[in-house]
């Protein structure tokens, strides 16, 4: 090749090469004039559906302070005002919400009509958002600040339900094209999405006219890093200020003062197959419960980043411990005498196979013969729901999507439940859960139902997990909540 052509070739190649790298999305130099620095955050779950608020990506939007709903969850798990300043129940199917003065990030005002449009779109989304499963409602504007919501059947937890991130309120612009919702610049939170780089990074700027006041950080640069070790490394090399969901195995490699453990509503349990196989026998279920030493799991596998299992609800559900009643009617433990059982679990959460191996030893000491089956979650679930295994070790968020304590009981432990891994079908349990679902005194009724379920020994609560967030030394005001719905707020800065 003639020598003088080489620079030309290099010039021609440069854009090609640049195309082979991911765009960083980082604007490190763009710190604002008033002294604040942009936050750099590493999140664990990349957006799966283009940040659509109707799927799991809604949590990302809510954690970054982009979207808000009419209500939020407070520390005790009760509904707190957000875009709605107050609400009242008019009759058992109708609720009236009074909006506060707020603006969308595109400059338009949050009007009752806009809120009704947003909620109607969510109600019509397919598949239905998780918080709305099995619920039908209509939302209508009423006056200059009111929204009236009517449900088809009585729903005592509607305000809780509206705190679900998938019921975020977006301006009319977001719903422009058919079946695609665009949260860029159309939400109401303190931070505004400005750039979305596929599933690798997003950039956010402060929204100055936020109703709750101006956020301290001028913006956020978010990277999605799926590998837990890589997130920990990013924090250690000061590439990020906040890293969510650090695996237990990596926590010890971080500085002590950067590790923040928050109790979550996630409970890891051993679910025993009550329909088929060895654990059809309640006496053997009781034997399994007595064989399990939960504190060995909390200390030995979770290195102390978990609390020993107390019930279906853990310490993060603050009201649960005070209202817990002793399970009644438990069977007397029988003798396993070499009964063969298979325990299934998944490796998407790295601790679970370890938990299963410790369980294996504990149960074998009690006289069971245990085989393990470890797979990737989506390859395991349908077999588990079909009752192909004798026992299942899994982690489950006990307040599922709505913050309503009864939801998890109904789906996991009743005859008609959609996620009934214990294949439990017990009239007393069904009755107790149905009673809890119909009352506003849900907390007491939920605890009564919990006692009823624990009495069957269909589930052995193992540990209540704590989620580990890596918080850089200079960061103040990170919002670490047990519901994993917030992370960055107006007071977060570095």
């Amino acid at each position: 090749m003639p020598r003088r052509l080489r620079p030309l070739l290099a010039l021609a190649l440069a854009p090609v090469l640049a195309g082979c790298f991911a765009s960083g999305g980082g604007t490190d130099s763009a710190d604002s004039a008033d002294g604040g620095s942009r936050l750099r955050v590493a999140l664990a779950f990349p957006p799966a559906e283009n940040l659509s608020p109707y799927g799991a990506d809604a949590t990302i939007l809510s954690r970054l302070g982009v979207t808000e709903g009419l209500t939020a969850l407070d520390a005790n798990g009760a509904a707190a005002p957000a875009l709605a300043a107050s609400w009242r129940q008019e009759n058992d199917r109708t609720w009236f919400f009074t909006l506060r003065e707020a603006t969308f990030q595109d400059g338009s005002t949050v009007t009752p009509a806009a809120v009704a449009t947003a909620l109607t779109h969510a109600a019509q989304a397919k598949p239905a958002p998780a918080g709305l499963a099995g619920v039908t409602f209509t939302a209508k504007a009423d006056g200059s600040t009111g929204v009236r919501i009517t449900t088809k059947t009585p729903d005592p937890v509607l305000p809780l339900r509206l705190s679900s991130p998938s019921l975020a309120v977006l301006s009319g612009k977001a719903y422009g094209t058919k079946d695609k919702v665009d949260p860029v610049g159309t939400a109401t939170g303190p931070f505004e999405l400005t750039k979305v780089l596929g599933a690798t990074a997003v950039t956010l700027d402060r929204y100055d006219d936020y109703w709750g006041g101006r956020a301290q950080a001028p913006g956020i640069d978010v990277k999605f890093v799926a590998d837990g070790t890589a997130r920990a490394s990013a924090l250690r090399t000061d590439q990020v200020d906040l890293a969510e969901a650090i695996p237990v195995a990596q926590a010890a490699t971080l500085d002590k003062d950067t590790v923040e453990a928050t109790a979550t509503t996630r409970t890891t349990s051993l679910l025993l197959n009550t329909r088929k196989g060895a654990f059809k026998d309640a006496a053997l279920r009781a034997a399994a419960r007595e064989a399990v030493d939960t504190s060995a799991l909390a200390k030995g596998v979770y290195e102390g980043y978990a609390d020993p299992g107390a019930g279906i609800y853990g310490p993060a559900v603050t009201w649960a411990a005070g209202k817990r009643t002793e399970p009644a009617g438990r069977a007397k433990a029988g003798k396993p005498e070499g009964t063969r059982i298979t325990i299934a679990t998944y490796d998407n959460r790295p601790e679970l196979p370890e938990v299963a191996q410790v369980l294996k030893q504990q149960l074998e000491k009690a006289g069971f013969e245990v085989t393990l089956e470890v797979r990737e979650y989506s390859r395991l679930e349908s077999d588990a729901l079909d009752g192909r295994f004798d026992a299942f070790v899994g982690a489950r968020n006990s307040l599922v999507d709505t913050g309503d304590p009864v939801g998890v009981l109904a789906s996991d432990y009743t005859c008609d439940g959609g996620y009934n891994l214990a294949l439990l079908c017990d009239k007393d349990v069904d009755r107790a859960v149905a009673k809890a679902a119909d009352t506003a005194e849900r907390q007491d009724a939920a605890m009564a139902a919990e006692a009823e379920i624990l009495g069957t020994d269909a589930v052995v609560p193992l540990v209540h997990q704590r989620v580990i967030t890596g918080v850089g030394g200079s960061v103040r005001g990170a919002l670490l909540d047990p519901y994993e719905r917030t992370l960055v707020g107006i007071g977060t800065r570095r």
Binding site: P127, G198, S233, E373, Y419
Partner: protein, 598 residues
């Protein structure tokens, strides 16, 4: 020309069959795509019948696989590769972006590999150029160990030590040239070590050929002779280098995960698990195309380098001037391995004690303990028998298949590239679809890939052998094709390919473990070696011994296979003269390249 058209058609046929097989995969394995797509979108969502029905309606799953496949192929004709089932985004731009990233990584890794190989061969080249090769001692055990290291171990060590603790280079992301260095080192170092070792084995043969002697006698500078020797040996390595390029573009998932690189390996893995068929089909097509291009380039380069000699049958056999001295090395390796196993067998590999987790090596636990407080020495020893027996059985099977198919290069060539290019998880899913998930499935899934490099090796040897002078002579004496095959070709080809197969034994053990997460193969708490490596990987920084012990025994096994194979070479050498059995032709890319890829 006709041959080339047939090959091209065959290649296109394989690609079409693959795409169709992927299109009906969920229906063959009875795994509902609505469920896997739901879980990929939102892991915590309960799979209620309403939700699944909505997803089926959204994706049009009810119309059946053939409609979907037809629509996708129809769109492809217009350059539209469909939309991802998970995100609803267009597939073509996303896959192209991932291909770009993977190719970039590949190119830098190739450069690293070339540099590594050059360093390994430098001594031989220098000695050869000065004609002082005769007395050299057999070297290369360092490069053999480097070659046998599991990829994820190199990657973890580089990321932790260079990236995090020393902070010299960025260890996370893919934002510019300096981000390419560490991952390229992790991929390129072992590959370069293998290629370098193979080249180093070939070079003495080239220097011993008559032309080299003549050139030196004529007074040509040593540098020129060395260059020509290199040119003489490179064609033997080209097919391996091609396979290396192809295999790592779609299969370097581990490295992509550790360094957080948005490459094709991760994209196709995610698509395979979620059964996101449009993405999986497009990714597979891209990989198959790349394999064809790589094979074509290797072919053209071989022609350029030694084409006329191949055509006219004017090659002399590459053989060593003197057999390498027999050493006690294999006995040392075997002795060490046996010692470890004998010491560990009386211990209990399953007894766990979480109070003793991650304990450093001590008199009571000579190799330390793992994350559940189990004795690593006991686990390594107890895992040996299972691991070795199964790996040996698979090796024997792949050796036979590889030899048989390697004899038919026109048939197997495109098949080899394609199989190497496919992500191992996809191969495992396809095998499961065909034979169901029985106890033999993981072995079959591994064997379905492992025969390919052996076949490529066989073909490469045959091509050179057929062009050798002594074969022309035998033919002139009236030997028929069967005689040639039995008495000339097979004796020349079988020993090096056998050695090569042995070299891949550790890699097969690792590949078996990498399928465990599909519910295939060994399940915890089995102490199978691949599983040991995988379960201790997250603790590599805090308890290096728990990873190093199984990695070391695997490396020892690799070294044993290599050195013992040297012994085989000595024993087999029975025909005199310009004989062929003493060849040490392309040993192929690393056994460990097959590793995990997870």
């Amino acid at each position: 020309m006709r041959h080339q058209t047939v090959t091209l058609l065959w290649r296109a046929g394989i690609a079409a069959a693959l795409v169709c097989a992927i299109g009906v995969l969920p229906w063959l394995t009875h795994t509902d795509p609505a469920l896997t797509v739901l879980k990929a979108r939102s892991a915590e969502r309960d799979p209620t019948p309403e939700v699944l029905a909505d997803i089926r309606a959204q994706l049009g799953l009810d119309r059946g696989p053939f409609h979907l496949l037809g629509d996708w192929l129809g769109g492809l004709w217009h350059g539209d590769a469909g939309r991802s089932w998970i995100s609803g985004n267009e597939v073509a731009p996303a896959v192209l972006q991932a291909v770009g990233v993977s190719l970039m990584l590949m190119a830098v890794a190739l450069a690293v590999a070339a540099l590594t190989a050059a360093l390994i061969c430098a001594r031989t080249l220098w000695l050869g150029a000065h004609r002082r090769l005769d007395g050299r001692r057999a070297g290369g055990s360092g490069s053999a160990v480097l070659a046998a290291l599991p990829e994820f171990l190199t990657a973890s060590v580089l990321a932790t030590v260079v990236g995090v603790q020393l902070g010299w280079l960025p260890a996370l992301g893919w934002y510019g040239p300096q981000w390419t260095i560490l991952p390229a080192l992790a991929l390129g170092l072992p590959a370069g070590a293998v290629l370098g070792r193979l080249l180093d084995d070939l070079l003495p043969g080239a220097f011993a050929e008559p032309w080299a002697l003549a050139a030196t006698a004529r007074g040509l500078p040593g540098r020129t002779v060395a260059c020509q020797a290199l040119r003489r040996c490179l064609p033997g390595l080209l097919p391996n280098t091609g396979l290396f390029v192809v295999g790592l573009t779609g299969g370097s998932v581990t490295v992509e995960q550790i360094f957080d690189i948005p490459g094709l390996g991760r994209t196709t893995l995610q698509a395979a698990l979620a059964q996101d068929l449009p993405v999986l089909q497009a990714g597979t097509l891209a990989l198959v195309l790349l394999a064809a291009v790589a094979a074509g380039v290797a072919h053209v380069l071989t022609r350029l380098l030694i084409g006329p000699a191949l055509r006219d049958g004017e090659l002399s056999s590459l053989h060593r001037p003197a057999p390498p001295a027999r050493t006690i090395l294999p006995f040392v390796h075997a002795g060490l391995l046996l010692t470890v196993i004998v010491c560990g067998l009386p211990r209990d590999p399953l007894a766990l004690d979480t109070a003793e987790r991650l304990a450093a090596p001590s008199p009571s636990h000579p190799f330390g303990t793992d994350a559940l407080g189990r004795d690593v020495l006991a686990r390594v020893a107890h895992g040996a028998l299972d691991t070795l027996l199964l790996a040996l059985a698979i090796t024997a099977a792949t050796l036979l298949t590889g030899l048989a198919l390697g004899l038919l290069p026109r048939l197997s060539g495109p098949l080899v590239d394609t199989v190497t290019a496919l992500p191992p998880v996809l191969v495992a899913l396809l095998v499961t679809a065909v034979v169901g998930s029985g106890t033999a499935t993981p072995a079959l899934a591994v064997a379905a890939v492992a025969w390919a490099p052996l076949a490529a090796h066989t073909s490469a040897l045959l091509q050179q052998e057929r062009a050798a002078l002594h074969l022309t002579a035998t033919r002139a004496l009236g030997a028929g094709p069967w005689y040639l095959l039995r008495h000339e070709l097979l004796p020349a080809v079988v020993p090096p390919v056998t050695r090569h197969a042995l070299l891949r034994l550790p890699g097969i053990a690792l590949a078996l473990a990498s399928l465990a997460f599909l519910g295939l193969g060994a399940q915890p708490p089995s102490p199978e070696w691949g599983l040991l490596l995988a379960e201790n990987q997250p603790y590599a920084e805090r308890a290096p011994w728990a990873v190093l012990a199984p990695a070391a025994v695997l490396a020892l096994l690799g070294a044993l296979a290599v050195t013992a194979a040297g012994g085989v070479r000595g024993a087999r050498r029975r025909r005199g003269g310009s004989e062929t059995a003493a060849r040490s032709m392309p040993e192929e890319q690393s056994p460990v390249r097959q590793l995990v890829k997870q």
